[in-house]
Amino acid sequence: MISWLASPRRGGLLALLAVIAALPLALPNNYFYEVAILVGLNAIVCVGLNLLIGYAGQISLGHAGFFGLGAYGSAILSTRFNWPPLVSIAAATLGVAAIAYLIGRPILRLKGHYLAMATLGMGVIVSIVAATEDRWTGGPDGMPVTPLSILGATISGEGTWYWVVGALLLAAVWLSLNLVESPTGRALRALSASEVAAEVSGIDSARQKVLIFVISAVFAAVAGSLTAHYSSFITPSKLSFFHSIEFVTMVVFGGMASTYGAVVGAAVLTTLPQLLTVFRDYEMVVFGAVMVGTMIFMPKGLVPSLGELAARRDLR
């Protein structure tokens, strides 16, 4: 029983479930619920992004672009074309998957960090389009979004959204843990350690990288479209380049190649600026400092470093 719980897949998931279930007891008002929902949505993006950065060793500087494409895609389909929100979310996510595939397929055949440049460019283009095509997107002022409804029942209010996002975060973590422990996950870890050895072991590294890039874009698109429906309003600030950097910082700070690290990173770095409003004007500086500090003092990130510390104490 103990060993059944000790496996990261089961024990960690149960712990996460416990935290999500118990957290409302500690949330005094709607504002804190709002922060918790934001944490959950960012964590979904980071769990996906961690698969790409932490496991496949590739960097995307445009995940806010995928996030924004999901958000605007779903917003436009549901609000301008009156599609049912769930169908809009699914269509926007499929669209993002297709775009990620089209970007990833030629780029990921190349060795080196070309993906970072391509995604950077993609993110910038998406944010310019969102700010200028005001007929569709409302331009810099943003656009209202129809609320999410499932089978005719409208999802509204922080209380309900909290459970929806909580359930989706659990699902995202579960999928990510499954993937990492599968032959595909081993293939990804292998090619990030030694691409040539992975290749001669029979792994088509370009194909695997494209696959994981598309999956991580899908995670971002789902979180993005949910964010649009949740806040019932969306502006281009959500898909700025800085937002992409925030996602990368969350993954690096929480711990690369650690699914729970991505969740913790998203939780800490989403909550901090919300609670310490003094930092508002210095947000970029703070994120930069967090990134540099992480690289220097704990290059493996928070959760893996704490894990190592605990393992060392056990040995003693």
Partner: protein, 256 residues
Amino acid sequence: MNLLRAESLSKEFGGLRAVDSVSFEVSHGKVTSIIGPNGAGKTTLLNLLTGIYAPSGGRILLDDVDLAGRAPHQFAEAGVARTFQNLQVFFNMSALENVMVGRYRRERCSLATALLRTPALARAERACREEAAELMRFVGLADWLDARSEAMPYGALKRLEIARALATEPRLLLLDEPAAGLNPAEMRGIAELIGGLCAHGRTVMLVEHNMRLVMGISDHVLVLDYGRKLAEGPADAVRHDPRVIEAYLGAAARVH
């Protein structure tokens, strides 16, 4: 019966012909060694035979299928596996997982099954784990079954690479300097292991500097010098070939 036939295989880097029109054959179930002075093109040849380099010319026939120009993972698919002179161990994984990576092609798991971890996949994973453990025992790593790869000594890592290569169920196993950096006792162990592989019907081709190892275990020896085939034949004949002695010791050695 030949498993592999290379026909006038060449590789140029800029103006340099690292491998120059080399032809040879590798027989089923035998040990074939490539020797030659430093810079003779041995490792380049191995890289050609695993798809890491695309040849500038020539053909690589594995059971009469031309593999020249294919990607490394396609060579693996066709049944060619290798180890590396400079270790290429996946240090971000346990020893056992390193070997399990070699089972990748055999496991065949779709994205959906990986994401949902179906009961069938869980069973396949348990079987894969057992097979990998079996291979580790076979190469003499029974004591390292639960080890993290980064905690293993050099000699054990060399064996780990062999286990990982064997996990792909290769028809042809290429070993790039399996004895480099090993002490005499470890080297004897590797020689025994290679002998055991042949007893199990594996075909092995190795690049090696250590003449005692090469002459002890090889059925057939191929000598390269400046990218060209200098000599070829059974170990004893090659050892006494004057051209080979000249390449290794210089022209003056022949006089005495």
